[in-house]
């Protein structure tokens, strides 16, 4: 046998040599690092617009859709299902019978579409929703989305004298804007946030929804005596608390307070309205009005406890009707209300409500048939399609109207009523779509959740929220937005 040091008693290759050699192999790769951009993130194609030639526009075809171009539509297959989109596809096919429409349903929006964005071949229309939603702030920042202004200015399907933008519910258009006038996102569903309750449960205490905080506390005290908790919430996802807390803050201190918070202004969280609202909610904890164990419940578990009558109120959004349907008793009479008044000094009247768009639809900038994607959206925003949507998925759409003559469930009807009562006082806090990490992980889990579990006082919570907001404001790696 030889005499090299590579030999050890086993006669084979020493471990050290293997390591040395694999390290050498790794080094070979490094000079090639220049080519890296051609790999995982590459293949993006050139930046010059390769948009297809525009077809002429007409009254019937205001967006200039190429009648033969295929339409590639990817939809999030979640609580709303895909039926309503299939129906809308049929309408599209009626106008453009030669166009091949492909509808892909998935729950993995991000993992399916991120490579397509990277590769420069995104679909024509995307319902960017669900847990795997792509960050739209980033998409806008990276110029990956098409401006939907053409769609907004197109005549609506039902009334050619009305532009699409004038048929939408309040706040929907603004939500689709990030900086300046371009509209990047079309939110198709319309969500009402607030305090959800069962009329049947309140009837047991001879109560109506308490319109001010003293009445709320009194009702909770009454319920506690009978072993029913006042409130519960998704303790493991405390970013559900803002669904009733933010409009409460806005109601107490006015729209400006919420806008300042969204704009990440210094000391925005130190506004007296924030502290007052926090203290009111903290009192629920202090007086033992919150269902025991709530901090360990997830959204489904808390909703189930609520539909079982263990707690009266829960902060939530209008999807809860569908989500909790399985555990909801028939005579539950699910309803939503705007947050109660704190006292008579509140800036906005009772009824002030958080409502905003859900199911964000986007058309990628590099879509081959962007006009087709927009046309499909225009069809979906017609009264007929909107009614179809409301009937099928029990949710309002962003089309303003389309509910007359439909028999609505108690929850949906209460949403419609709440919107009517709110009138112009519809608030739209943006933290949850502008700064996802700040809203969920920091303020939600890191501050509000801690306060409601009693591990933080309201004063500490205010301080913590401000700290988190300041960090986000300073962080140059995230895009910052301002209310217009």
């Amino acid at each position: 046998m030889g005499s090299t040091s590579a030999q050890n008693n086993n006669g084979g290759l020493g471990r050290r040599d293997v390591i040395k050699r694999s390290a050498a192999l790794g080094l070979v790769g490094i000079p090639a690092a220049g080519f890296l951009s051609a790999c995982a993130s590459g293949g993006g194609g050139s930046d010059d617009s390769s948009a297809p030639k525009k077809t002429k526009t007409s009254a019937k075809n205001p967006l200039g859709v190429n009648a033969t171009a295929p339409l590639d539509f990817v939809i999030f297959d979640g609580g709303f299902g895909t039926e309503y989109a299939k129906d809308a596809n049929e309408v599209y096919n009626k106008s453009y019978p030669k166009a091949k429409v492909t509808l892909t349903a998935t729950q993995k929006i991000q993992s399916q579409l991120q490579p397509r964005f990277n590769g420069g071949t995104p679909p024509d229309l995307i319902d960017n929703s669900g847990a795997e939603q792509m960050d739209m702030g980033v998409l806008v920042g990276q110029k990956q989305l098409a401006d939907l202004t053409a769609l907004m200015d197109a005549p609506s399907v039902d009334d050619p004298s009305k532009k699409v933008r004038d048929t939408l519910r309040p706040g929907v258009l603004e939500m689709g804007q990030f900086d300046g006038s371009p509209v990047w996102i079309m939110y198709y569903a319309y969500t009402v946030y607030g305090v959800w309750y069962s009329q049947t449960a309140l009837d047991k205490f001879d109560a109506e929804y308490p319109e001010d905080w003293d009445a709320m506390l009194a009702l909770c005290a009454k319920a506690k005596k009978k072993g029913v908790a006042g409130w519960t919430y998704a303790g493991k996802y405390p970013y559900y608390i803002p669904f009733s807390l933010y409009p409460f803050i806005g109601k107490i201190g006015g729209r400006e307070v919420l806008d300042a918070i969204d704009n990440l202004e210094p000391n925005a969280w130190k506004a007296p309205a924030v502290k007052a609202a926090f203290e009111a909610y903290y009192e629920l904890y202090k007086k033992g009005y919150i269902l025991k164990g709530t901090p360990g419940l997830d959204h489904i578990q808390s909703q189930t406890a609520w539909t079982q009558g263990k707690a009266l109120f829960i902060p939530n959004g209008s999807w809860v009707e569908n989500e909790a349907a399985k555990t909801t008793p028939k005579d539950f009479q699910m309803k939503v209300s705007a947050p109660s008044s704190l006292d008579s000094n509140d800036k906005l009247p009772f009824g002030t409500l958080w409502a905003s768009g859900g199911e964000p639809y986007i058309v990628p900038a590099k879509a081959k048939n962007a006009a087709g994607g927009m046309e499909q959206l225009r069809i979906m925003l017609s009264e007929a399609s909107s009614r179809d949507f409301t009937q099928k998925v029990k949710s309002l759409s962003s089309f303003n109207g389309g509910t007359d003559g439909l028999t609505l469930s108690s929850a949906l009807q209460s949403g419609v009523d709440a919107l009517k009562k709110a009138g112009d006082n519809v608030l739209n806090p943006r933290l949850q779509d502008w700064y996802v990490e700040l809203q969920k992980q920091k303020i939600g889990v890191g501050a509000l959740g801690e306060m409601m579990a009693g591990r933080m006082t309201p004063a500490e919570c205010v301080k913590k929220c401000q700290e988190f907001a300041d960090q986000a404001a300073k962080d140059s790696s995230i895009t910052h937005y301002k209310h217009q």
Partner: protein
């Protein structure tokens, strides 16, 4: 005879080596490169930002929380799992009352227990996590129901909702789901230890503890060591990610009390659209993993016994 030996070996290994280089080494090199960029992961455009990501990481409190938890995982989890598994395997193979004709035997019903212990391994980790989530439900879960059934109404922990308990709750799930595999692995290892060793020891009047520490453990050392590495990888990688993602508040909470590096990488890349920064955290994870593997190999180096 030396002449041409390496060429000969490389000739055989060229295909696997090439595959390894393309699918393992190359992505590593790529990720390290991306850790110096501001790539969002959502578009092909990015620019090199030098050490910015690393600077940011050093000042990122969530990163340090995740880092701490990952280190706790990799230090504590293998220890607990392997200790329990060794104990159980010993009891199943050697620890029983002595029967006639056999030098050593397991406790009664050992084959049955072996199968039962292996059950959790059959379930996917996602299902296990979901099931435990029900168990930990503070309001209607089995644990708190049990506590009040034995008269501990005042002790009703919030389990996953309590920052001081949550991490241990999650770890307990991994212990439960992994122990069975190692019981079976160690049982197989113990079966290959010649029975004469035990006979000789028993003749000398050795106690059970002595037999375990003087015979079983040394002869099983190689298996334990690979188990250790395997457990370490598992507690830094996919399994710890899955249970944290599925079970914990937030996920990663409450208040960052359960986040681990693998989950934080995912959150940064896929929730926040900061793939560049995510790979920076990935590099930190790589370093932890290498340190762990190196440590285990160093500590575990012992003389090998041939039998």
């Amino acid at each position: 005879m030396q002449h041409g030996k390496y060429r000969f070996i490389v000739g055989f290994l060229i295909v696997p080596l090439a595959l390894y280089a393309i699918f393992v080494i190359w992505p590593f090199v790529q990720s390290i490169f991306y850790s110096f960029t501001n790539w969002s992961g959502l578009s092909p455009n990015f620019s090199v930002t030098g050490l910015d990501n690393y600077q940011r990481m050093i000042h990122d409190s969530t990163f340090w929380a995740s880092f701490r938890h990952s280190v706790i995982y990799v230090l504590v989890l293998p220890l607990i799992v392997l200790a329990i598994a060794l104990f159980l395997a010993f009891m199943l193979n050697v620890g029983g009352r002595r029967k006639r004709g056999a030098a050593v035997s397991g406790v009664q019903g050992a084959p049955f227990y072996k199968i039962v212990y292996f059950f959790p391994q059959v379930l996917s980790i996602a299902i296990v996590a979901l099931l435990f989530q029900f168990l930990y439900n503070p309001e209607s879960g089995a644990l708190n129901a049990f506590l009040s059934a034995v008269g501990l109404d005042s002790v009703q922990p919030e389990w996953l909702g309590d920052p001081s308990l949550a991490l241990w709750c999650v770890m307990a799930v991994l212990v439960w789901s992994q122990v069975g595999f190692f019981v079976v692995l160690f049982s197989a290892g113990m079966a290959s230890i010649p029975k004469d060793f035990y006979e000789a020891a028993l003749l000398d009047g050795a106690s059970r503890a002595t037999t375990f520490f003087r015979i079983t453990l040394p002869l099983l050392w190689d298996t334990v060591q690979s188990g250790w590495v395997y457990m370490g990888i598992l507690s830094l990688g996919a399994e710890s990610f899955a249970v944290t993602q599925i079970m914990t508040a937030g996920p990663g909470g409450p208040a960052d009390s359960t986040n681990v590096l693998s989950l934080y990488v995912y959150q940064k890349a896929f929730r926040d659209g900061q793939a560049g920064y995510a790979t920076t955290i990935g590099v930190a994870l790589l370093i932890v993993t290498l340190l762990f593997a190196g440590g285990v190999l160093r500590v575990g180096r012992r003389e090998r016994l041939e039998f």
